[in-house]
Symmetry: C2
Subunit: 268 residues, 2 copies
């Protein structure tokens, strides 16, 4: 089973990438599960067609009686979907919520029962604290893909995620698979992101252009693959999915210093 984490700042396009890559993989015959770890709980909305109940919400309601069918839902092309959810705002640790959710899936033997080919975690990367880095700490996945734009804040968050990966790489070999450049910001400058990737010792594995069809499919709560399978952007996601599935180039990233980041921003 290939286990990957997709990290990135809030609103950067993680769920857009995850739902379309999952749809492309499922369409080509892979058995895929997506676990949304963003407290917003909307990672799998465009795969199932609606927001699903989160593990933490169901746990708060049903306690130990929780069953597999309470928290695992089937979406487009049979993709299995789970949302970890988060604590109520203001209390608890968002990161620990993710681990609690994973522990429940383990207890219910979800991973053994479903015989998955690919498992994808969609994780918020605004704050790389002990909480949100838990999936790295606990080696939940083998490789991480980071979604970014060329905005300073997005690159800053991506660099922090790399610091987190580097810190835990020795523990279980969770490494960086690559950078996914989402051209959805006001400034579109792939050369900045390519330079950022090569300084980290990795590469840009995919480029998603800013595109109307992504917003149109999202409004209908579908992936682009489902809503407009013949659109060029659907093929962009199919290529990205293939690249991720076959990627064997994984590195321990070499995060940039504050000064190096500052110097790059001045050129944007």
């Amino acid at each position: 089973m290939k286990k990957i984490c997709v990290y990135g700042k809030g609103g950067i396009g993680k769920s857009t990438v995850v739902s379309n890559v999952a749809a492309a993989l499922a369409e080509s015959g892979q058995k895929v599960m997506v676990i949304g770890c963003d407290p917003k709980g909307d990672s799998t909305r465009n795969i199932v067609g609606k927001k699903i109940p989160t593990v933490l919400d169901v746990l708060r309601r049903k306690g130990e009686d929780i069953q597999l069918e309470d928290i695992v839902f089937k979406g487009f092309q049979g993709i299995y979907c789970v949302e970890s959810g988060g604590p109520e705002p203001g209390i608890g640790c968002a990161g620990r919520g993710i681990i609690k959710a994973i522990e429940i899936l383990d207890k219910l033997k979800v991973f053994e029962t479903l015989e998955l080919d690919v498992l994808i975690y969609d994780i918020l990367g605004d704050v790389v604290c002990g909480g949100f880095a838990m999936p790295l700490q606990r080696h939940l996945a083998d490789e991480v893909y980071i979604v970014t734009t060329c905005d300073p804040m997005a690159l800053y968050a991506a660099n922090n995620i790399c610091k987190g990966i580097k810190r835990y790489a020795y523990r279980g070999n969770t490494t960086l698979g690559g950078i996914i450049y989402n051209g959805r910001s006001v400034v579109d400058n792939i050369s900045i992101v390519s330079e950022f990737a090569s300084r980290l010792n990795t590469e840009v594995v995919g480029y998603i252009p800013m595109s109307e069809i992504i917003v149109k499919s999202e409004i209908r709560k579908k992936s682009v693959i489902e809503y407009a399978p013949d659109h060029p952007i659907a093929n962009t996601f199919r290529e990205l999915a293939k690249k991720i599935l076959n990627n064997s180039k994984r590195v321990i990233p070499n995060p940039l210093s504050e000064e190096e980041l500052d110097e790059m921003w001045e050129r944007i």
Copy 2:
């Protein structure tokens, strides 16, 4: 002493608002301190003219020998500046780092020694977990101002911050002073933000238009008040500072439901 927290999503304009409001207050004779609680540690850069050492960094280096002059720096018009800093990416709790920094300031009797008129905390609001809500939980301030744009993610974060305020309001009466609308996003629609504010039972206390002069002063590591005191935007910040200083309308917010937020976004 008036104690306020300024919250908002990363990159939304918190430090721009805080450094200019602080400069306007100091210019009019108030004794002001700014405590940056963003792990990035750059809240006070445009007041001091450079990034200052953070409390957590100095604590890691000097331990218990830490002195007031190691962590409190004077900037424009005598504004006192402190940066709490954050843990290394991937470990520890970003929120607990803020509390640790405040405990050190208390131990060094910073607040008694400096006889401040206004104390402003600049706090990251992407994730409103137990960590980042600690300033609300520990009643570090009397009123909160939330900086937002009309982007869905920014409003979602602002709504979560309101859930955090509401949760702790009974403990010590930290309430919502108002919404500050920063027109810096691609979509500029003040009516959406005004509606959002009135649904929360509060109002928009300030509107900062998208403006070149903000970026120009930032590059020179100055506030607009210092770099271009006669510019209309400097007066915008002076008016906002006066409004905040004299504001007595504070409320316990009435956060929107997911459905209400979804409905508002569809109209953006």
